[in-house]
């Protein structure tokens, strides 16, 4: 008997008798003999809890994590401080172990959390309708593409090259299924989306235009201008946004954005080597019945008490089947809980303070590094620079316990010497200066004594 089951020999005897079979094997009589495995799975035997812990801890020790180095790595996931109360609340069995709130009378906690989450996302994005979360950022972008197809019945999508490479890739992968072509709009010389080129790429066949705020290089985009250029022929404007800078940036909903999606990891979620986190999906009211995923709504019970339910379910797969607006079920409730707790922890003023801190540190860091900027205009949270000897910098910095950032060359061949540097509240001035020193080191070494 394993430690997670509880059938004693006596139980087994009684249970088989009640069923009317002689052995456990008889229960599988419907499986043809030819299909029975007839051997044990080729896996090790079960282990004690202590042995499993030690095995996993030994593997974890072979990863260099963010408490072991000073990391300027971002590119979609960021090293923010997660307050202790999030660990406490998320580890409560009442949040950790229930299923989706199919029985609202015994799920009011989870449903109210979803409602509060939707309110917070609506506030950040400036759009009136948010769902209760989707898987994560890039697939949320792809879901927005599907909404655009359902809404416009058009055949093409235009994506700025400032959109995260993973978002562009996920959009292409999903669009191959729902039958749409994805074309790219280039960046201009300052690392912002080229407004004129975007305008030229949009015609009557384009269902949606995708941009990102700040874009992948950290550039603060001129959303108003992109909106004007992108929406002329009736295409939807989809903006992928980082929620923390939205605390100081004009909400996408006020600049003509129809759908705002994004990666929620920055809101109180761990790095976790890429997931689980959550994606958010907010839109204008006219899209409320075309949204993907769960939406919580407020209502009353038979005694007139306030309560919350999953609502507008006639959009969803379990009701609408092949006519559903998406195949997604519930997605990331626990991660979205972390998101709304984090936003409540920061609060109305804290989010602004954090955003301003990031803004100042980003600009300070770009200047302190003293390198040629790929995006010299306004940036927040991240910026891109050209590094003459990138490999040498990495070697030197890694030896000194510093991870300088993300090499742009893999995704942007035009920036093969590009380095994307991310800043959070955890990256102090002292640490930024340390990176600057490492960058300057060869020049100093080469200089005469």
């Amino acid at each position: 008997m394993s430690r997670y089951t509880g059938v004693t020999d006596e139980d087994l005897k009684q249970m088989l008798e009640a069923i009317g079979v002689g052995s456990l094997g008889d229960l599988f009589a419907d499986i043809p003999e030819s299909l029975r495995l007839g051997r044990e799975l080729d896996l090790p035997q079960g282990k004690s809890e202590q042995e499993v812990y030690e095995h996993l801890a030994a593997m974890a020790a072979r990863n260099r994590h963010n408490e072991e180095e000073i990391s300027f790595l971002g590119a979609g996931m960021y090293d923010h401080y997660v307050p202790a109360l999030i660990d406490t609340l998320l580890s409560r069995s009442e949040f950790l172990t229930p299923y989706t709130p199919y029985q609202p009378e015994i799920s009011q906690g989870g449903l109210q959390v979803m409602f509060e989450f939707q309110t917070a996302i609506s506030e950040l994005t400036g759009l009136p309708v948010s769902n209760a979360s989707v898987y994560e950022g890039p697939s949320a972008v792809a879901a927005a593409g599907y909404l655009a197809k359902l809404e416009t019945k058009r055949s093409r999508l235009v994506a700025s090259r400032g959109l995260h490479p993973h978002s562009r890739a996920a959009l292409r992968t999903h669009a191959a299924g729902y039958g749409m072509e994805v074309v790219e709009a280039p960046l201009d010389e300052d690392g912002a989306t080229d407004v004129e080129a975007l305008a030229a790429a949009v015609d009557d066949d384009v269902a949606a235009v995708f941009v990102q705020q700040p874009n992948f290089l950290g550039t603060v985009e001129d959303l108003g201008a992109l909106s004007e250029a992108g929406k002329r022929s009736g295409a939807l404007l989809v903006c992928a946004a980082d929620p923390i800078p939205l605390g100081i940036l004009k909400p996408p909903g006020e600049l003509g954005v129809d759908v705002c999606v994004g990666e929620g990891q920055t809101l109180g979620n761990r790095l976790d080597f890429g997931g689980p986190s959550f994606g958010f999906f907010a839109a204008g009211e006219r899209f409320i019945r075309k949204m993907p995923g769960r939406i919580a709504g407020e209502t009353r019970d038979v005694d007139g008490r306030r309560g919350f339910v999953l609502t507008l379910q006639t959009r969803e797969q379990h009701i609408r089947r092949e006519k559903a607006t998406h195949n997604i079920c519930t997605a990331q409730a626990l991660n979205a809980l972390a998101g709304v707790v984090y936003l409540s922890w920061l609060g109305k003023r804290g989010l602004v303070e954090l955003g301003e801190l990031l803004l100042r540190r980003t600009h300070y860091a770009r200047e302190a590094l003293g390198l040629e900027a790929i995006n010299p205009g306004p940036v927040v949270r991240e910026f891109a620079v050209r590094v003459p000897e990138l490999d040498a910098l990495f070697e030197r910095a890694r030896a000194a316990g510093v991870n300088p950032g993300y090499r742009l060359g893999r995704d942007y061949p035009e920036f093969s010497d590009g380095l994307l540097v991310a800043v959070t509240e955890r990256r102090t001035k002292e640490q930024i200066d340390r990176l600057a020193e490492l960058i300057a080191a060869p020049a100093r070494e080469a200089a005469p004594a």
Binding site: M1, S2, Y4, T5, D11, L12, M15, F28, L35, L41, L43, G46, V52, A57, M59, A60, N63, N66, E67, G76, L89, S93, F95, P98, Y99, P101, G109, G110, V113, T119, P128, Y135, E136, S139, D222, L223, E254, R270, D272, F273, G274, G275, P276, I288, G297, E298, R300, R305, R306, E322, T330, Q332, A333, L337, S344, G347, K348, R360, Y364, R410
Partner: protein, 511 residues
């Protein structure tokens, strides 16, 4: 409105805070000098202003209104609500896992890549298929990946196929996925024994069919005895056979989808491999496939070269990326720990006991006092779950399946999945899982019996249930008719004129 239903926004009071910003160490440059005027937010987002103690109390109070698996029996059919071992939270939280950046150089993420590689191997062995991608974010995402792989496979062979077959017992995600993947759904009927109607399948499996999506055991909890013939028909038509892994918990170590002839499988790590459900996520939906599908798997793939693990992006025929980074790694950690704990012997035992528990509960519920009201829909040995029909209770007692489910809430057990599968009238779909004891199963049967007895005397009690929960039956129709999907100050829905003026997109229109 009682105080404990106030949202966090209504608890807000200007001036309170839980967050203290780290001290400013860089020049205090005015925001206006760093951002163009048109990009600056004019008014702060209306987030709550609240102190840490009140923040903790609010969410702790909310949590107390959730029924949860650590509290009691949760026999939701098709959801596999098995115990979530507590070790898993500890290992997932190790800084080497939780604080690891997804773009860390593979050289400095060898432990994480090894864990993924080992999990791939274990899942492949359990499925009987050699290739695995862990990338999909959930079962629904895995299904979509499976059909995108199918499309890529056929297109690579120069074939344009337009239809995908799904049984009429299928989960709603199957047909929804078919549409998203650009195919047309064709339903296949169910035979009197609960399996796929072979004649109907033969008739529909033409050259235009790309795939048959199947769950086996199916959503009735029955293993399809004709699976070999089904695979033959599908493969003769040139289509792929897709395994919806929702019910894999019935057959681990007993039989393998790959050996049954399936080409592509998805796993629900949050079901079979016990990632906690989190009130509706996160999960993960890895896929396994045969050799002929492998070239199209998403990228990157985790590969091993001698002692070194790496991410392989050089996959020219790949369908591409389904999402950011490498997938829900935190979920992989938990599921891998689970597989290590159980091992080959324990995984098989888990499936055996899951099937034992389901058949035992079915037998107890076939006794007098229950069976005349809730007869079994297909009376044969079941696998890990079974389906009852509430037709008898409706006809003889005047209470519906919904009423029975709601009355269960007063007994502190979670109801089964109700009104699914669609072909069973007033369905109750019961999946006890292997981690429940005989006493728990007996107790559940007693609860059902007592609800039915009570209804013989006074059906109104069930019809108006629940009576002891934080709220009673909620007006779902009203919620959908006039949706209130976010809080607004002063309860105004539609938004106030000032808001509409300042923020046209956020304040317009009735909600």
């Amino acid at each position: 409105m009682t105080e404990d239903t106030l949202t966090i926004f209504e608890l807000s009071k200007p001036g309170r805070r839980a967050f203290t910003a780290p001290s400013t160490d860089v020049p205090d440059v005015p925001v206006e000098e760093l951002l163009p005027a048109g990009a600056i937010r004019e008014r702060p987002a209306e987030l709550p202003e609240i102190s840490e103690p009140e923040l903790v109390r609010h969410y702790t109070t909310l949590s107390s209104k959730n029924f949860h698996l650590d509290e009691g029996f949760y026999p939701l059919g098709s959801c596999t609500m098995k115990h979530n071992p507590k070790l898993h939270e500890r290992v997932a939280a190790l800084p080497g896992h939780a604080r690891l950046h997804p773009l860390q150089d593979p050289e400095h993420a060898q432990g994480a890549l090894e864990l993924m590689w080992r999990l791939q191997g274990a899942l492949g062995e359990i499925a009987g298929l050699p290739h695995v991608s862990l990338q999909p974010s959930a079962g629904s995402h895995g299904e979509l990946a499976g059909l995108l792989l199918t499309r890529a496979y056929h297109e690579d062979r120069g074939e344009q196929r337009t239809k995908v077959l799904t049984p009429d017992t299928a989960h709603g995600t199957n047909p929804a996925t078919v549409t998203m993947a650009g195919y047309e759904v064709v339903k296949v009927g169910t035979a009197p024994d609960g399996g796929v109607d072979l004649d109907d399948l033969r008739e529909k499996a033409g050259e235009d069919v790309a795939c048959l999506m199947l769950t086996n055991p199916n959503t009735l909890g029955l293993f399809d005895r004709n699976i070999e013939e089904i695979a033959q028909i599908v493969h003769d038509a040139g289509a792929t056979l897709y395994y919806d892994g929702a019910n894999l918990n019935a057959v681990m170590g007993v039989a393998r989808p790959g050996d049954m002839g399936f080409d592509i499988v998805h796993f629900n790590l949050h079901k079979t491999f016990t990632q906690p459900h989190g009130g509706g996520g996160p999960g993960a939906g890895p896929i396994a496939c045969s050799d002929r599908i492998e070239p199209f798997l998403p990228m990157p793939q985790v590969v091993r070269d001698g002692e070194r693990f790496d991410l392989d992006f050089d996959r020219p025929r790949s369908i591409g990326k389904l999402r950011g980074f490498q997938g829900n790694f935190g979920v992989f950690v938990r599921s891998y720990a689970y597989i290590c704990s159980l091992g080959a012997d324990g995984l098989k035992e888990a499936s055996e006991v899951a099937v034992l528990n389901a058949n035992y509960l079915k037998a107890v519920m076939a006794e007098a006092g229950i069976a005349e009201y809730l007869p079994i829909a297909f009376d044969r040995l079941c696998m890990h779950e079974f389906v009852l029909s509430g037709q008898g209770a409706k006809d003889k007692l005047g209470i519906r399946t919904l009423d029975i489910a709601k009355r269960m809430l007063d007994h502190n057990v979670h109801p089964p999945t109700v009104y699914f599968p669609l072909l069973v009238d007033e369905a109750l779909m019961i999946e006890p899982t292997e981690t429940e004891t005989k006493e728990r199963l007996d107790h559940f049967a007693e609860v059902v019996r007592s609800i039915l007895e009570e209804a013989q005397k006074d059906p109104e009690v069930a019809r108006t249930a629940p009576h002891t929960t934080p709220v009673r039956r909620l007006d779902e129709a009203g919620a959908a008719k006039r949706p209130v999907v976010r809080w607004r100050p002063n309860g105004e829905n539609p938004g106030d004129p000032e808001r509409a003026q300042n923020a046209p997109a956020s304040g317009s229109g009735a909600m």
